[in-house]
């Protein structure tokens, strides 16, 4: 197995506070890696440093062996890395289908072709297929802002897969989603992982969801990795139990 993403000694401090403190790990081709940890343990900051939203204070990030540290998010996205955010981020004033077309349109052609080319950038069929896959096809023409929270969450995830990424980093995809939709979301993610060979890194608080979805789990506390391994191993690790149950 080869590593899609290599993170080495990544560090991010805000003034005196060290949010990410020398984190190193590899993400292997085709795996679903979970990252868990108590609130404030640096999970989202870690994502933001890997993805160029924040500039890391130190350390390196490699994608397929290529240095991408500090690269702009839009360039990184066009190299096949997509993400979702912890808080819901769809475009409420665009239709559901337009949200998906937007998520794919920058990946093909030039700026000029997007100016003079077709309005849907040739992506409407792909968008409808993705909507059907996420069972949102009956809502295609609605404004995204009119959907329920759970439906928007599904749309948010669908947008991350619209461009067929090699690597997707999902920040709390299950947050605020009801149990029925949660099962559906988990099945969709597993299907994409199996069919497209996409690699996932998932930050999640919902333990059942993580344990059922991920093959390997990293546990972060106070900006450091304190445990790593398969779900059963992590669940019984003394340091993990201590980090979660507190001092």
């Amino acid at each position: 197995m080869s590593a899609v993403l290599e993170v080495r000694d990544l560090r991010k401090s805000f003034g005196g506070i060290v949010a990410v403190d020398g984190v190193s790990f590899d993400v292997n081709q085709g795996e679903i890696l979970g990252i868990i940890g108590p609130n404030g343990s640096g999970k989202s900051t870690l994502f933001n440093c890997i993805l160029g939203q924040l500039r890391p204070s130190a350390g390196r990030v490699h994608l397929d062996g290529r240095a991408v540290t500090g690269m702009r998010p839009c360039d990184l996205n066009r190299l096949g890395v997509s993400r979702t955010f912890q808080l819901l981020q769809v475009f409420p004033q665009l239709s559901v289908r337009d949200n998906l077309i937007l998520a794919g349109q920058e990946h093909r052609g030039s700026m000029l072709s997007r100016l003079v080319g077709p309005r849907d950038a040739g992506l409407a069929p792909a968008a409808d297929k993705m909507l059907a896959f996420f069972r949102l096809d009956h809502l295609a023409d609605e404004l995204a802002g009119g959907l329920s929270y759970g439906q928007q969450k599904l749309l948010d995830a669908a947008m991350a897969f619209m461009a067929g990424p090699r690597l997707a980093l999902l920040d709390e995809p299950a947050g605020g989603v009801n149990p029925t939709m949660l099962t559906s979301l988990r099945d969709r993610l597993k299907a994409i992982n199996a069919e497209q060979g996409a690699t996932f890194v998932v930050i999640e608080h919902n333990m059942d969801f993580v344990m059922a979805l991920c093959s390997r789990i990293l546990v972060l506390a106070e900006g450091r990795i304190i445990a790593e391994g398969d779900p059963a191993h992590v669940r019984s690790d003394a340091k993990v139990i201590e980090a979660y149950l507190g001092h």
């Binding site: 981020q89 475009f91 937007l102």
Partner: protein, 325 residues
């Protein structure tokens, strides 16, 4: 609901177009001049609407671009150039200037960007006033000729009015195509949520820059029509006041609405003329009207219309309506 809105909008559009076509026969020459000014200013406001309404950047430099377009056209046509290449050059020069200004300036946001563009407007105004060898200083440039179309002269007030109207129609069509293209979708995305747009591969810096430069280019086209309309230009009209006025047009009409600039320009260009009977009080009345509108309907006149046609529960303060449709 969407159908009812389409019907209302279609009827309003057809009535307005019919009115604009017969208007010259209803007004004296001064009225026709004012209507021509409306068409020309609407073009500049459409440009600013791209910058402000679609890309979300506050610019106080639109008057400078109108001025640059007007001076280029005036200088070249008084030296014997035909109108068309002069007009094209005015648009291109403003596009390039807008790009060059935006490249460093768009690293700033909101009121910082407003300050930089304000400074640029002042700078351009000073160049117009002080570089006498080029611009004629405060004496300006007179006898700017009006264009001709296939040997057909636009000298008369009627002819030039229809010429301005045709130019407005062309610019509107081009802008409509732009905001219905994938660019329009990217513009809405970067205004709504730049961070998410960036994570989806949208090069927000480049799109913002293009919106800014295109807005400046339309300012240049507007200036290219303004010079032959008034036939005498001096620095005064292109001071900061016009930039503020154009900003007012966009905001009052409804920033981010396609037809916002058309309505806004009516308020800013025609309303003061109609309120002239009130003499010294008209400015006060006008200011009150604008303040009341902004307090009760910050989304502008079209935002107000939107609220009246759409039931409250479903109303989205949509700037993206044309794009979303």
């Amino acid at each position: 609901m969407r159908r009812r809105k389409t019907v209302v909008a279609g009827m309003a559009l057809a009535l307005s177009a019919a009115f604009l076509l017969v208007a010259p026969f209803l007004f004296k020459p001064y009225g026709i001049f004012i209507l021509s000014t409306w068409a020309v200013m609407t073009i500049a406001a459409i440009g600013l609407n791209l910058t402000l309404g679609y890309a979300g950047q506050v610019s106080l430099a639109q008057a400078a671009f109108v001025g640059i377009g007007a001076y280029i056209t005036a200088l070249l046509t008084t030296k014997g150039w035909p109108f068309w290449p002069a007009c094209a050059l005015a648009g291109v020069a403003c596009f390039v200037t807008g790009w060059a200004l935006g490249y460093p300036a768009l690293r700033l946001q909101h009121h910082y960007l407003a300050f930089v563009t304000l400074a640029f407007n002042t700078l351009v105004y000073l160049v117009f006033r002080n570089e006498e060898w080029l611009t004629g200083g405060i004496y300006g440039i007179s006898n700017v000729p009006r264009p001709s179309l296939a040997g057909w002269s636009m000298n008369g007030a009627h002819a030039f009015y229809y010429f301005c109207l045709a130019a407005l129609a062309l610019v509107s069509l081009a802008t409509w195509c732009l905001i219905r293209s994938p660019w329009g979708r990217a513009f809405v995305a970067l205004r709504e949520n730049p961070m998410r747009a960036l994570s989806l591969g949208v090069d927000t810096r480049r799109y913002t820059l293009m919106a800014f430069a295109l807005g400046a280019g339309l300012g240049g086209i507007s200036g290219a029509l303004y010079a032959p309309l008034v036939q005498f230009i001096d620095p005064t009209p292109f001071a900061l006041g016009l930039s503020l006025n154009l900003l007012l047009m966009v905001v009052v009409g409804g920033s981010g609405y396609f037809f916002g600039p058309f309505l806004g320009a009516i308020v800013a260009v025609l309303l003061p003329e109609w309120l002239r009977f009130a003499q010294g009080y008209y400015l006060m009345g006008y200011a009150m009207l604008v303040i009341v509108l902004m307090v009760f309907c910050p989304t502008g006149l079209l935002g107000l219309a939107d609220r009246l046609v759409t039931p409250a529960a479903k109303a989205v303060p949509a700037a993206a309506r044309e794009v979303a449709a």
